[in-house]
């Protein structure tokens, strides 16, 4: 690079600039890391300690709070529900999304553009704005307070971007491969499964993260559709929990830690994929 910001060989003005900028970026790093650190140590403190010694370390390390929140407050259920809902929804997003992308990108036909536009229509529309009709539809289907309702909506939420990203990717795969397979007697579904899908694997990884993170984190739809405590997902469960224990900060910080740390742990091991996946819609 022609103008790397390096200290070595730089003039005083540039050195000062680099130093200032690094200072600003370091402040933001501290603003990210300290509140997370404080959240975790507060989970080990008593309410009294949190209020009287907000920056101090806990007097003793015990996992009683974590046990209480995980077992008695039902976070184990919330967690399992989130895993179930996200897993099933993502499975269908990838299956139907890749099939749709295949149907749009690997054939030439008149309605091609129309089908593509129908899929893409959801990319710009804020689905939240449609909550009233969605509520009416889900009620008609008899799915209020059923996890299937949020799964279906999450599938709809994930499909447009999945078709968009995957069809762009599939268009680049040479048709000759398909002809060769056809001569060997493969029918279309076999071509999709044996040839196109394996070649699409990197893009699949991308759309998985792109959709799974927002689905895992989604609050609005489970809030509206899931009422029984045993069916709630982690974000809604966390919200209920905050309503019930508003003054027990020690417990609240424990709940937050349980909600936040698994994602952080996954990120530490797969940060490259997360960054690539999450910015996939905005970076070409």
């Amino acid at each position: 690079m022609i103008s790397d910001l390096r200290f070595r060989g730089a003039g005083w003005g540039k050195r000062l600039f680099i130093f200032l900028m690094m200072a600003i970026m370091t402040i933001y790093v501290l603003l990210i890391l300290y509140p997370l650190f404080n959240m975790v140590i507060s989970a080990f403190k008593s309410n009294r300690e949190i209020l009287t010694k907000p920056f101090g370390f806990p007097q003793s390390i015990g996992f009683k709070n974590f046990h209480t929140v995980w077992v008695e407050k039902g976070f184990d259920r919330y967690f399992a529900n989130s895993l179930l809902v996200t897993g099933v929804a993502m499975g269908f997003v990838l299956l139907f999304g890749s099939m749709g992308a295949y149907g749009v990108s690997r054939y030439r036909y008149k309605a091609n553009t129309l089908v593509y536009m129908l899929f893409l229509s959801g990319i710009m529309l804020p689905l939240k704005a449609a909550i009233i009709p969605l509520f009416i539809i889900v009620k008609r289907l008899g799915l209020i307070d059923s996890r299937i309702s949020v799964i279906l909506i999450f599938i709809a939420m994930g499909l447009p971007s999945t078709v968009f990203i995957l069809s762009g990717f599939m268009k680049g795969i040479p048709l000759e491969l398909e002809y060769a397979a056809r001569i060997d007697g493969c029918h279309d579904f076999q071509i999709y499964r044996r040839i196109i899908m394996p070649m699409t694997a990197p893009a699949i990884a991308l759309v998985t993260i792109y959709n799974a993170v927002p689905i895992w984190n989604d609050f609005f739809f489970p809030l509206v559709f899931l009422q029984s405590n045993s069916r709630k997902t982690l974000p809604v469960g966390l919200s209920t929990f905050f309503g019930q224990h508003a003054t027990n900060w020690s417990l609240l910080f424990t709940g937050l830690s349980i909600a936040i740390l698994p994602m952080l742990l996954m990120y530490i091991f797969m940060s490259r994929y997360f960054i690539k996946g999450m910015t996939a819609g905005a970076v070409k």
Binding site: M1, I2, S3, D4, L5, M21, M22, M25, Y28, V29, L33, P35, L51, P54, L95, F96, M99, G100, G103, L118, F119, S121, M124, L125, P126, L127, K128, A129, A130, I131, I132, P133, L134, F135, I137, L152, I153, I155, A156, L159, D188, F189, N217, F219, F220, L234, P235, L238, S239, L252, L256, A259, I260, L264, Y267, S271, I275, T279, A282, V283
Partner: protein
Amino acid sequence: MDVKQLRKAAWIIFFVTPGLMIVGVFILLPLFMSLYNSLFSWNQLLPVEFVGLENFSRLFTKYPYQQRFLNALQNNLIWFLSTMILQNSVGLLFGYLMSRSIPGYQAFKRIFFIPVLFSIIAVGFLWGLYLKPSGLVNNFLGLIGLESLQHAWLGEERFATMAIIMVNIWRWVGFPSLVFLAAIDNVPTECLEAAHLDGVGEWKLFWKIVFPLIIPSITIITVLTVIGSLNVFEQIYTMTGLDGGPNYSTDTIGTLFYRTAFGSVDAGSPEIGIGSAIGVVIYILTFLISLISIRFSRSREVQL
């Protein structure tokens, strides 16, 4: 049509139908139902009679709808402008610094993205605790001797909205940073080197060459900011509650819409007609503002 053509058509239908059905039922149908429902008066979940645009005229002109609606819309505008000015320009600066390999940029990049992954709910509740009168923020101000700056950040009308926006920016700055980083990394090195050899300074290099070339990603971030600002809901829900307190000062279209649709607050019972009208307004605003942003940047876009 011969057999081959029919077979092809059957396969296409096989591949696209499952996806199209779900998109149709859960995205397109609700869109048209919103438009349709907004033209009726409602009794709970049942349409009563066709009233034309009356729901819209009540929303725009009648008390208390007009006051609530304009107040919320104004807050959404504040959200949009603050996010553009504070978050996206800091993002552009960070993205630029990282693209110029500032010492430690690999670590900065990874750490900046951490809060982006967390649910807004967890982030909102966490900072909600920190911003309480006896919370960490005020404790910190006391620690460094700035007691005079301590406030009930979420309890005072003049601070609440800005406090919530700052929390949202805290969570989200990493996103534009990394999008802009990727965009600047894509600017061909030859361009920069040629200009550099001609003696163009760093500042001019950025505004005259880098900036025009990354306008597509600026458009994308702008459109995402529009959609994000119009969809603000969880942030308010977790930090100042569904009412958008204190005294509606943090109310947004999202929270107003939710209260109207599910009747949890000032309206008492759900008002499907007015609620649908608000939904339609959100659709139209999203569509129009996105279109304007795209048009605006198209006219400034430069191609190599």
